[in-house]
C-alpha cells in the first residue's frame, strides 16, 4: 500500500468558503496557564449527562473522576485542575442554556491523580485497552462529542474492514488538528495503532485535505513503520470532514440513511485529536481533561493554538490572547459553519470545543432573510443530496409527513445550504427545527 497518496475522489455537493486559516496555521501549540477556576458541565457529550460523584467542598486532584457515566451512551467526567469543588449547579453552557455543572476553584498546584500506565499496550488483550478508554471519558474531539467507546464496541453482526482517521479539519479558521498532526504525529500514530488493536482491524487510512501538506507529510513520516496505515490527501471542500462524506471520499462507500451507522459500511471513523486522547488514556492513564483548540478571528489580539484544560472560561482564554477588539460583535464556539454563537463569555470550553472565534462587525454580518428565488444553489451544495429549499418550505407549512419523506432526518446540519443561499435564508436552521419536531413526534408514538 502506497503511503502518502493523493486522491481526487470526493463526495457530491459541498461548498468552498474562504479558509481564514492563515492567522493561526503556522503557530505552534502554546499551553494556557492553569486557570483559577473551571466550570465542568455534566453534559459535554451526546447521551445521558454524567452523574456527580463528588460534593461541594471536596478537594480534588487533576485527573480525578468527579462524575460517573450514566449509562452506555455516556462518559465519566474528570477534574481538570487541582483544588476544591465550590459549587454544583446550573451555569451558562455554550449551547446558550444553563446546564448542571461542577465548579472547581484551583489552589494553584497541579497535583495529578495517580494514574495506571501500561507498558507495551499493543501486546495486551483488547479488553483492558477498551476499559482504559471508557474510564478516561473520551468523546469524539472533532466536535460531535459522541462517546468514543461506543464506536469501539461494534455489535457482533457488523463486520468492519477499515479504520478511518479524520484529519480533514474542513471548518474555516480552525487549525488545531493541523498543529497536532504537525507537532504530535507520533502520538497520533500510537493512538491509531491502539484503535486498530481495539477494533481488531488491520488497515487504517488517514484522510487529510490538500490545504495541509505539512500535516500530511508529518503523519506519513510518523506512520512509515506501519505498512497498514496510509495517508490519503483529498480535495479541500467543506464538509470533507463530515463522517459520511469522508467515508465516501476515501472508500467510495455510502453509509445508508439513518438509523444506519458508518459500521454498516464496514468502517469506523475517529478524529486525529481523539487518537491522541486514546493514546494518553491507554499509555499514560491520563483521562480526557485537556485539548488543543484554535483561538482566531479578526477581533482577538493574538490568534493562537492553545492547549487548554476542560472547563476553562472563555474570559481566561481571551485574557491570555491579549484581549478582544472594541468592535467585537460575535463569539463563535466551534467552527464558523457549525459552531454556536455565544451569549456570554462566561461559558466554559468543553471536551469537544475545537475553536473560539472572535468576530468583528465586519465579519459577523447578520442578514435579512428574503424570498427564495429558486436558484437551486442549496440543492447543489447539499452533500446529502437533499433539496434544502423544499425542506424549508415544508417546515414553514408544517407538513411533517412530507418533511420526513423528503429526507429531513438525513440532514447532517453542515450548513452548506444556508452558506450558499443568495436570499440569506437560514435553511439549515429551519431544517433543524423540522428535525426536532419529527423526533419529538417519533418519541410520542
Amino acid at each position: 500500500m502506497a503511503h502518502l497518496v493523493r486522491s481526487s475522489k470526493t463526495f457530491y455537493g459541498g461548498v468552498h468558503p474562504a479558509e481564514y486559516k492563515g492567522a493561526s496555521e503556522h503557530l505552534p501549540i502554546e499551553i494556557l496557564p492553569l486557570p483559577h477556576k473551571v466550570v465542568l458541565p455534566l453534559s459535554q457529550h451526546l447521551g445521558a449527562p454524567s452523574a456527580p460523584c463528588v460534593k461541594v467542598s471536596d478537594t480534588v486532584k487533576t485527573g480525578q473522576k468527579i462524575a460517573d457515566a450514566a449509562g452506555f451512551i455516556s462518559v465519566p467526567l474528570h477534574a481538570s485542575i487541582t483544588g476544591t469543588v465550590t459549587a454544583i449547579g446550573a451555569f451558562p453552557h455554550p449551547n446558550g442554556r444553563r446546564m448542571e455543572a461542577i465548579v472547581i476553584e484551583g489552589n494553584g498546584t497541579d497535583e495529578k491523580e495517580p494514574a495506571m500506565s501500561m507498558h507495551d499496550p499493543l501486546s495486551l488483550d483488547n479488553s483492558p485497552l477498551k476499559q482504559a478508554v471508557i474510564a478516561a471519558g473520551i468523546v469524539g474531539l472533532g466536535g460531535a462529542a459522541f462517546p468514543t467507546h461506543v464506536k469501539l464496541s461494534p455489535p457482533k453482526e457488523k463486520t468492519l474492514d477499515l479504520l478511518i482517521i479524520n484529519g480533514c479539519e474542513c471548518e474555516p479558521y480552525l487549525t488545531c488538528d493541523n498543529r497536532i498532526m504537525i507537532e504530535q504525529a507520533d502520538r497520533i500514530v500510537e493512538g491509531i495503532r491502539l484503535l486498530k488493536k481495539i477494533l481488531c482491524l488491520k488497515k487504517a487510512v488517514v484522510g487529510i485535505e490538500n490545504n495541509k501538506p505539512e500535516a500530511a507529510q508529518s503523519l506519513a513520516k510518523a506512520s512509515a513503520a506501519d505498512p497498514e496505515i496510509s495517508v490519503i490527501v483529498i480535495k479541500t471542500k467543506y464538509p470533507q470532514g463530515g463522517e459520511k462524506q469522508l467515508i465516501k471520499s476515501l472508500t467510495g462507500r455510502e453509509v445508508p440513511p439513518p438509523p444506519a451507522l458508518p459500521m454498516d459500511a464496514g468502517v469506523v471513523v475517529h478524529n486525529v485529536a481523539t487518537c491522541i486522547a486514546v493514546r494518553d488514556a491507554v499509555v499514560d492513564g491520563t483521562p480526557c481533561y485537556q485539548r488543543v483548540l484554535t483561538v482566531s478571528g479578526d477581533a482577538i489580539a493574538t490568534p493562537k493554538n492553545l492547549l487548554v484544560r476542560n472547563g476553562t472560561l472563555l474570559s481566561d482564554i481571551i485574557a491570555f490572547c491579549g484581549g478582544t477588539a472594541p468592535n467585537l460583535k460575535k463569539v463563535v464556539i466551534g467552527g464558523p459553519m457549525m459552531g454556536i454563537a455565544a451569549v456570554t463569555i462566561d461559558v466554559p470550553v468543553l471536551k469537544a470545543t475545537s475553536g473560539l472565534l472572535f468576530l468583528s462587525e465586519k465579519c459577523a454580518i447578520s442578514y435579512a432573510e428574503s424570498s427564495c428565488i429558486r436558484c437551486g444553489s442549496c440543492v447543489r451544495a447539499c452533500p446529502m443530496g437533499l433539496a434544502p429549499s423544499t425542506l424549508c418550505g415544508l417546515v414553514k407549512k408544517r407538513r411533517w409527513d412530507s418533511l420526513k419523506e423528503e429526507g429531513a432526518l438525513e440532514c447532517i446540519e453542515c450548513g452548506s445550504c444556508a452558506y450558499s443561499c443568495p436570499a440569506r435564508i437560514p435553511l439549515v436552521q429551519y431544517i433543524k427545527i423540522g428535525k426536532a419536531e419529527l423526533n419529538a413526534r417519533a418519541r410520542k408514538k
Partner: protein, 333 residues
C-alpha cells in the same frame, strides 16, 4: 442549590444560527449580473435600431421599476426595490417588443408584467411564469399588428416595416425566405434582420450569457437541451424534405431562440432546481418551439414553449429529485 454566578456582560454579543459565514453573492448581485450580461444585446439593439431602441428600453425599464414600487407598497410586500429584479424584467420585456412600439403598448406591457406576471402571486420568487413573457403574450394576442410589424434595421435597404424571417417562412414559404435572407447566414447570426428589439443578435446574446456561465448564475443544461432539441427536431425534417423545411441552422439562429434559451428559460424562479429537471425543461421547450414553428399558427414558438414549460416546473420538481446520499448500495466488506 447554590446561587448561580452573576454574569456581567461586557458587551452585547450578536447571536444567530450557524453558519456564521455566507457566500458573497446575494439576490441583488445575481440580478445585477443579469443586467450586465444583457448589455451586449442592448448595445446590438442600439446599433441596429438607433434611438428607437433607447426610447423603448428606457421607457420599459422606468415603467417596470415604478410599477414594482407601487405594487410592493400596495400589497405590503417586504421585497426590496433595489434588488434589480424589476430592471431585469424591464429589459427582457423591451427585448420582446418591436423598436416601433408606441408608448401605451409599453406601459400596458409593463403593467401586465409586474401585476399579472409577478405581484399577483406575491412578488419575487413566487411567480410561476416568466413575467416578461406573460406581458409579451398578452400584448401579442391583444394587439397582434403592433406586435408583429417590425422596422427594418438601419443597415437594410429601405426603412419600411417588414416581417421577421420566421414570419416570411410561415406565410410565404421557404423560397421567399431564402430570397429575403440574400443567401447570407451571417446577417441572421449578427442580427441584421427584422425582429423585436433584443432577440435579433444571437451573437450579442451569447456573449452576455458567457458572463453568466462564468459567474455560475446560469447553467448549461437548459440552453443546451433547448437549442439542441430545436436543432435535432428541425434537422430531422430538413433532412427528410429539404425543399419544404428550413435548415436547422436557420431555426437555431432565427427568432427569439437565443434570447429565450439563455435569458428567459434560465430564469431561476420559474424553472426546475435540479440538473435533470433542467434538461427535461429544456427538452420540452425545444420540442414545443419546433412544433409551433413547423406546424403552428404562429411563426414563432419560443415564448409559448417557455410559458408552457413554466407550468410544468412544479411537477418536474416534484418527480425529478436530487440523488439522495446513501441510496447507492455499499460494498459489503
Amino acid at each position: 442549590m447554590p446561587e448561580p454566578e452573576k454574569s456581567e456582560p461586557i458587551a452585547l454579543l450578536a447571536v444567530g444560527p450557524s453558519p456564521h459565514l455566507a457566500r458573497s453573492d446575494d439576490t441583488q448581485r445575481i440580478m445585477l449580473s443579469v443586467v450586465i450580461a444583457l448589455v451586449p444585446a442592448i448595445a446590438a439593439s442600439i446599433v441596429f435600431f438607433g434611438f428607437d431602441s433607447i426610447r423603448v428600453l428606457a421607457l420599459t425599464i422606468a415603467a417596470c421599476v415604478v410599477f414594482e414600487k407601487v405594487f410592493l407598497k400596495l400589497f405590503k410586500n417586504e421585497g426590496r426595490i433595489d434588488d434589480w429584479s424589476a430592471v431585469v424584467t424591464g429589459i427582457l420585456l423591451a427585448f420582446n417588443l418591436p423598436a416601433s412600439s408606441p408608448w401605451w403598448l409599453i406601459l400596458t406591457g409593463s403593467l401586465v408584467a409586474m401585476l399579472l406576471g409577478k405581484h399577483i402571486y406575491g412578488g419575487l420568487g413566487h411567480n410561476p411564469f416568466n413575467p416578461a413573457l406573460i406581458a409579451r403574450i398578452f400584448l401579442l394576442i391583444s394587439w397582434p399588428t403592433c406586435m408583429t410589424s417590425f422596422p427594418k434595421t438601419r443597415f437594410m435597404a429601405d426603412g419600411i416595416s417588414s416581417a421577421t424571417p420566421l414570419g416570411i417562412l410561415k406565410t410565404d414559404g421557404l423560397a421567399k425566405l431564402q430570397a429575403s435572407l440574400g443567401g447570407s447566414p451571417f446577417n441572421l447570426a449578427l442580427g441584421n434582420v427584422p425582429g423585436s428589439l433584443g432577440e435579433i443578435s444571437a451573437l450579442a446574446i451569447f456573449i452576455g450569457a458567457l458572463y453568466l456561465f462564468y459567474k455560475g448564475y446560469i447553467r448549461w443544461h437548459i440552453p443546451a437541451a433547448f437549442i439542441g432539441t430545436v436543432f435535432a427536431f428541425t434537422g430531422i425534417f430538413y433532412l427528410a424534405q429539404p425543399e419544404t423545411y428550413a435548415s436547422p441552422v436557420f431555426h437555431v439562429f432565427a427568432g427569439g431562440l437565443f434570447l429565450g434559451a439563455f435569458f428567459m428559460a434560465t430564469d431561476m424562479v420559474t424553472t426546475p432546481i435540479t440538473s435533470a429537471g433542467m434538461l427535461l425543461f429544456g427538452f420540452g421547450c425545444g420540442l414545443i418551439t419546433s412544433v409551433i414553428r413547423l406546424w403552428g399558427g404562429y411563426p414563432e414558438g419560443v415564448a409559448f414553449s417557455i410559458l408552457i414549460m413554466n407550468a410544468f416546473t412544479p411537477l418536474i420538481d416534484r418527480y425529478v429529485k436530487p440523488a439522495r446520499f446513501g441510496k447507492i448500495k455499499s460494498r459489503k466488506p
